[in-house]
């Protein structure tokens, strides 16, 4: 049985850990995790290729498999948006939420490929997404409610102001840590299972544990991407809902 660090060293096929200080490289904007960034770029390219391939030569009457897949995903997100947000306000949000879902889904699944890593297994990515959503929600709240947006911090009584502020701030933090925890834990367990069994035990059937865990991780990847998107929709719908 090997330690987690050893397994990570073994899995460092692309040599990211040797860049900078354990993969953290100083740049003009500050220190960055190179592996996370490179994986993100790969995922961006994959997502772009996937969607572009699906939307070239689209057919109305006889959609191909790829087209149907993207369409269904899009319709699923759009359905969620229109169910929760007023049609006129939600229409502009569909593309953002579709991108969010697609990006998170690809990110979650990408880490299941050996030597690859989910960008969402890095708290920087998930917290970045969550902060972006948080800012978006504040902006949307201000846009649709004006200054009366701040009134909800004082409700039901002004005395609760600290609590409401904590409540508001807890949203991006929970959003970030939920997906990060799930995906990072999934990757850690993949590495642990790899280190747990010797080669003989793996060949004798120890690989089954990894297989089962990978299958479950696919499920978790979908679920977490969905939850993140769904919660974003819920937060936005709270700000766009009209109180009578």
């Amino acid at each position: 049985m090997r330690g987690l660090e050893e397994v990570h060293e073994d899995l460092d096929f692309w040599g990211f850990l040797h860049l900078g200080h354990h993969g953290v490289v100083p740049t003009p904007i500050g220190d960055v995790n190179v592996k996370t960034l490179v994986m993100t770029w790969v995922i961006m390219i994959l997502a772009a290729l996937f969607t572009v391939a699906a939307t070239r030569a689209m057919k109305v009457n006889k959609p191909g498999k790829l087209q149907l897949m993207v369409e269904e995903m899009f319709l699923f997100i759009r359905g969620l948006v229109y169910d929760n947000i007023d049609y006129r306000k939600g229409a502009g949000m569909v593309c953002l939420l579709f991108t969010l879902f697609l990006f998170l889904l690809f990110s979650n699944l990408w880490g299941l490929i050996p030597t690859m890593m989910s960008p969402t297994a890095d708290i920087n990515t998930t917290l970045g997404m969550a902060l972006m959503v948080f800012l978006l929600v504040q902006v949307i709240g201000l846009k649709y409610k004006g200054l009366s947006y701040f009134k909800h911090f004082l409700e039901p009584v002004p005395f609760f102001l600290p609590l409401t502020i904590i409540e508001e701030l807890s949203k991006p933090i929970t959003l970030a840590f939920r997906i990060y925890g799930n995906i990072y834990a999934g990757e850690v367990l993949i590495a642990v299972l790899l280190g747990l069994f010797s080669l003989t035990v793996t060949l004798m059937g120890g690989f089954l544990a990894s297989v089962i865990w990978l299958a479950f991780s696919i499920f978790v990847g979908f679920i977490q991407a969905f939850i993140f998107t769904m919660l974003t929709i819920a937060y936005i719908s709270q700000q766009t809902a009209e109180h009578h």
């Binding site: 953290v24 740049t27 904007i29 500050g30 220190d31 960055v32 995790n33 996370t36 960034l37 993100t40 770029w41 961006m44 997502a47 772009a48 969607t51 572009v52 939307t55 070239r56 689209m58 057919k59 109305v60 009457n61 959609p63 087209q67 993207v70 369409e71 899009f74 319709l75 593309c95 953002l96 579709f98 991108t99 969010l100 697609l102 990006f103 960008p119 890095d122 708290i123 920087n124 990515t125 917290l127 970045g128 997404m129 902060l131 972006m132």
Partner: protein, 168 residues
């Protein structure tokens, strides 16, 4: 705060990831979003058109069916009328034929009766003539020369008259 940031391993990657996401968002918005929305709209429109077309066709079919039914009803009535007419005509013809036959038979009967009557009269006349002749002969033999021809003739005539009144 510093401790939290370093413990979590937060660094500029966070900003870069937001930037990356926005790049992806812009790309998808420009390149992918429009075709998807377009094709979905087109499909929706196509479905709506199909539904409308199907509805129209259904209405047309219903109208056609009604007209066919009406036509069928009309044909039925016409056929009924023709049959009735034919029946009536047949009956009339049969009556006519019957009447003609009756008239013919009456005519034949009448003519037969007339013939019989004529024959009878002819026979009676012949009989009279013969009776006259016979009577003369008989009278001649009986009275021989005792009465003149005149007296004899008168007597015969009387006899004939009596004989003629007899039913024969």
């Amino acid at each position: 705060m510093e401790a939290v940031i370093s413990a979590l391993g937060l660094n500029a990657t966070l900003v870069a990831q937001i930037f990356n996401f926005i790049v992806l968002l812009i790309f998808l918005r420009v390149v992918v979003y429009k075709p998807i929305v377009n094709v979905l709209e087109q499909r929706q429109k196509a479905i709506a058109d199909n539904v409308t077309a199907a509805e129209n066709e259904r209405k047309e079919a219903e109208a056609l069916r009604q007209s066919y039914l009406a036509e069928m009803q009309k044909s039925k009535e016409e056929a009924q009328a023709i049959i009735q007419q034919a029946t009536k005509a047949g009956e009339a013809q049969a009556q006519q034929i019957l009447e003609a036959a009756k008239a013919e038979s009456a005519r034949i009967k009448d003519s037969a009766l007339a013939e019989i009557e004529r024959e009878k009269e002819k026979a009676v006349a012949e009989l009279r003539e013969q009776v006259v002749t016979l009577s003369i002969l008989v009278a001649n033999k009986v009275v021989s020369k005792k009465i003149t021809d005149d007296v004899q003739h008168d007597m015969v005539r009387e006899f004939i008259k009596e004989a003629g009144d007899l039913p024969c």
